[in-house]
């Protein structure tokens, strides 16, 4: 509804706010499915739950194109260096969501094989509880991250 007589279409904001807003609104996750949680992550991205509503459905196969790593599942000692390498390959700014009990703390597997919490390897911004967390939980985690980015708490 543009009118010739309308006032100039201007919006004033601060640079920081504009940056945070754009960071928040199109955060592309890297596909980093490891175990059970990866299936729920796929369920979150597909038709029924539709992550596209939050501008995050573009799961990127290459870490170079991703802003967010969702560590979905248990991280074994053998996988840990790979995970760290993928994280290092991601371009700044970048965030990490630790999805599920195994990624957050090792979960029920307190043994020789698993890294007891992915925060030992990479800095985690949001932990999503559950075993596995349902799509709603993951979406809540993602929205929490978006809120925190917008509020400046986790803005990079």
């Amino acid at each position: 509804m543009a009118h010739l007589t309308a006032p100039p279409q201007l919006l004033t904001t601060t640079l920081g706010k504009a940056m945070r807003w754009s960071q928040q609104q199109s955060m592309w996750p890297a596909t980093f499915g490891l175990a059970c949680c990866a299936i729920e992550m796929m369920a979150t991205g597909t038709a029924h739950n539709d992550l596209a509503r939050f501008g995050m459905e573009v799961f990127r196969a290459s870490p170079r194109q991703a802003d967010l790593m969702v560590v979905a599942g248990r991280v074994s000692q053998k996988m840990a260096p790979v995970l760290r390498q993928v994280y290092d390959q991601m371009a700044d700014p970048k965030w990490v969501i630790s999805m599920g009990a195994c990624a957050s703390t090792g979960g029920m597997f307190n043994n020789y094989a698993l890294v007891q919490g992915v925060d030992q390897i990479v800095p985690v911004d949001v932990y999503v509880p559950g075993c596995p967390p349902g799509p709603q939980s993951l979406m809540h985690g993602i929205l929490t991250l978006q809120d925190k980015v917008m509020s400046g708490e986790l803005a990079r």
Binding site: A35, K78, P132
Partner: protein
């Protein structure tokens, strides 16, 4: 092939002077730089295992070395279904040899099982093959019950069949969906997961969780079916066949789908048998082997269903077999739902199952009994057993050794994905590199099942 260490001096202890790196250490420690197996070692291994299969490829020394290339795929790759890693030896566009490298999801579950009581064990096994959690629980429970020698009431058996067959449908839905996505049929991904949500909603209502249920336990099931389950099952039986007709429209005669799957990733029946391949992959090669018919469990012999087989053993046939199996599973579900027996959903054997809830309120002994079962667990007579069932991916076996205590001495799982994965090099030899993802997807490996 890795040689056995000849003497103890070959083992290097940290802090001492590093020994000369012998051949077996290189092979054992550095997979990335490891050479592909030489042909004579393969030959020898095949003969030792008695698994001679026709391998028509011979090393062609006339090919320029510049043309040969080893490409690494995974473990972080969107089409390897988890954390599978492949070393692929290419000659131009042709895949010559493939070496799967596993262990990136090794969770030490078999060891963890030794620290959990028999009742807790279900929480562990359900996380192995996370697309077929109920089958894992059933297999484990059957093994424990075989050692215990307890009788399972008919209603519990019928519930187990109902739940596992629904689980087979949901697992095959994911297999078909991801198979579609890997080849580029993205709508299949959306459809498959849409219908899976329907089954998962029923699972959540019944078991409390969408996945990793710990619902089927030694002695029966954790809870009775919820009120109104008949309507839920009726809705599943109505909606899923309708949706599957959509998939058929989408894929069955789709020239692109046929072009990408027909004649791709062929494995013959003999090769399947030699490598211990089971499940839809074996049946697609034309062998009508289904443990539900061959070694029936939980009263599945009472229901009417067919074993679906293919003839060519290619990716397309595997897709057809899975679609057919979904129909057959729904047939079983329909029969189970129609003839659901009344009665208890767990065994009345008080050594195994806790007293009913109302008894706990009125009796101190019942409370103690309940407490003992959930803290110490029940004792299982010493012995060993092997039980196998037909999981969506093939023969799922549980080998259990008990020393008479409340926790297993050893638990080993015969994982269908693990055995099936061995067939990948056979399947992919001499195929195009673009068919790699089609082959992997058609095997439907679950890395949680492979590595455990």
């Amino acid at each position: 092939m890795m040689a056995e260490p000849t003497s103890t001096t070959d083992v290097w202890v940290s802090g001492t002077e590093a020994p000369e790196v012998s051949e077996w250490m290189v092979a054992g420690t550095d997979e990335g730089a490891q050479e592909m197996e030489r042909d004579e070692t393969i030959e020898r291994g095949v003969e030792q295992r008695g698994a001679r299969v026709v391998d028509d490829w011979v090393v062609d020394d006339t090919v320029d070395d510049e043309e040969r290339m080893i490409v690494n795929m995974g473990p972080q790759h969107p089409s390897t279904h988890g954390v599978l890693r492949l070393n692929i030896e290419l000659e131009g566009e042709i895949v010559r040899r493939v070496k799967p490298i596993i262990g990136y999801l090794h969770t030490g579950m078999e060891k963890t099982a030794e620290t959990l009581t028999y009742l807790q064990g279900g929480t562990n096994v359900t996380r192995m093959d996370y697309l077929a959690p109920l089958q894992n629980e059933l297999c484990y429970s059957l093994a424990v019950e075989k050692l215990l020698g307890v009788e399972i009431p008919p209603r519990a058996q019928a519930i187990r069949i109902l739940m596992t067959e629904l689980n087979r449908v949901s697992s095959h839905l994911v297999a078909t969906a991801t198979n579609g996505m890997d080849i580029g049929a993205l709508s299949m991904m959306m459809y498959g997961f849409r219908e899976r949500e329907l089954i998962l909603a029923f699972f959540e209502k019944t078991t409390g969780l969408r996945m990793n249920h710990n619902y089927i336990r030694p002695g029966g099931v954790a809870a009775d079916l919820p009120d109104g389950w008949e309507e839920d099952v009726a809705e599943i039986l109505e909606r899923i066949p309708r949706a599957m007709a959509d998939y058929e429209d989408l894929l069955k005669e789709n020239p692109i789908w046929i072009g990408r799957t027909r004649g791709v990733g062929i494995i013959t029946a003999d090769e399947c048998l030699a490598y211990g391949v089971t499940g839809p992959t074996l049946r697609a090669a034309g062998v009508p082997w289904d443990l539900r018919k061959a070694q029936p469990y939980s009263g599945i012999e009472a229901y009417d269903f067919d074993v679906v087989t293919g003839s060519r053993g290619d990716v397309y046939d595997r897709y057809r077999v899975r679609i057919g199996e979904m129909h057959q599973s729904l047939r079983i579900v329909e029969q189970v739902a129609a003839a659901m027996p009344r009665g208890d959903y767990k065994t009345g054997d008080r050594k195994v199952s806790p007293p009913p809830r109302q008894r706990i309120d009125e009796s101190m002994e019942a409370l103690i009994h309940h407490f003992k079962i959930y803290t110490e667990g029940f004792k299982v007579p010493a012995g060993e057993t092997y039980v196998a069932i037909e999981a969506p991916r093939g023969e799922l076996g549980c080998y259990l050794v008990s020393d008479g205590s409340g926790a297993p001495l050893r638990m080993h799982t015969r994982a269908p994905s693990f055995s099936n994965l061995q067939a990948l090099p056979i399947m992919m030899a001499d195929s195009l590199v673009a068919d790699t993802v089609a082959c992997i997807a058609s095997l439907d490996p679950v890395m949680g099942d492979v590595d455990r």
